[in-house]
Symmetry: C2
């Protein structure tokens, strides 16, 4: 299939909307309305005892403290997914990691959004001395015990974090 037409119908600070026309292998065509946002990364940072989660307000879904893995958007020009993940880990939980592994790429909402998510495992965690969290992000760090990971999965209502927590549970089991 191929995109045969694309026109921007909304251009906001974070969300762009495009009206597109697609042609399929059988020659038929259809219109699609697509939201375009920056691609993003999610990090699974853990040591022998805990995985570091965050609670933060998510205005789009009206939640004051949604439980998530650390994550962020590729909103710095020229930055790779791995560089973004390293930056976000320091910004959100005040730690760097010596070992990084990309474990999955997936689409959070492929029915209407182009966003791609890259998921990393980060280990060998070290506290960063001069960490000053961005007050605008209103993030609370939660050191969640690994032996209670099923409770994190039960409480979590964020798709990317659920995928990451299930993958972490597999690693711990395996």
């Amino acid at each position: 299939m191929e995109r045969v037409d694309s026109k921007i119908v909304h251009e906001g600070p974070r969300v762009e909307v495009r009206q597109e026309r697609w042609r399929y292998a059988d020659g038929s065509e259809a219109d699609r309305e697509i939201a375009v946002v920056d691609d993003a990364v999610t990090v699974i940072p853990y040591d022998d005892e805990v995985v570091y989660l965050v609670r933060q307000p998510r205005e789009p879904v009206g939640e004051a403290g949604l439980l998530e893995l650390p994550a962020g958007k590729l909103d710095v020009a020229g930055e790779s997914a791995l560089e973004c993940a390293k930056r976000e880990l320091v910004e959100e939980i005040g730690r760097s990691a010596s070992e990084w592994e990309e474990v999955k790429r997936f689409y959070p909402a492929p029915g209407f959004a182009q966003e791609e998510m890259t998921l990393f495992v980060a280990t060998g965690l070290v506290e960063v001395d001069d960490h000053a969290p961005d007050p605008e992000e209103r993030i609370e760090v939660v050191a969640w015990p690994l032996d209670r990971i099923d409770e994190a999965i039960a409480e979590c209502a964020d798709a990317k974090s659920l995928v990451g927590l299930y993958m972490l549970r597999d690693r711990l089991a395996g």
Copy 2:
């Protein structure tokens, strides 16, 4: 926290964008741009041998045949999530189910979209005789063997389906 202002800045056939202002418990305020789409459902339909998946084009991410669980949008006025799930199961895989269980609610993309996803398990599957799939949806049904569920998880790049497949694996193990 509370929404103190909301204004529609884009209103398309499927995607609406709102510019909102939020106030937090500490009295500070921030602007947020939020995509609004219909809420949705995902179904985990399985019997003793297979889980029924679908492959379909996902234009937003440029994939001609993304592997997913059956899913659909709450785009019929007054329809409940369960009614929507029952309708989508027939439309997408030509089967009805005698047993339904809601197993999870989560947000596919809480950083920028309000969408809520409700996940159902459907068992007691029966083929529907007069099933006529919508050619516009271009859906291929895939009967995936349960003893190869780890391969489905490895191939799947759709967040909602990954969550569903992990939950199914837990049920099969438990």
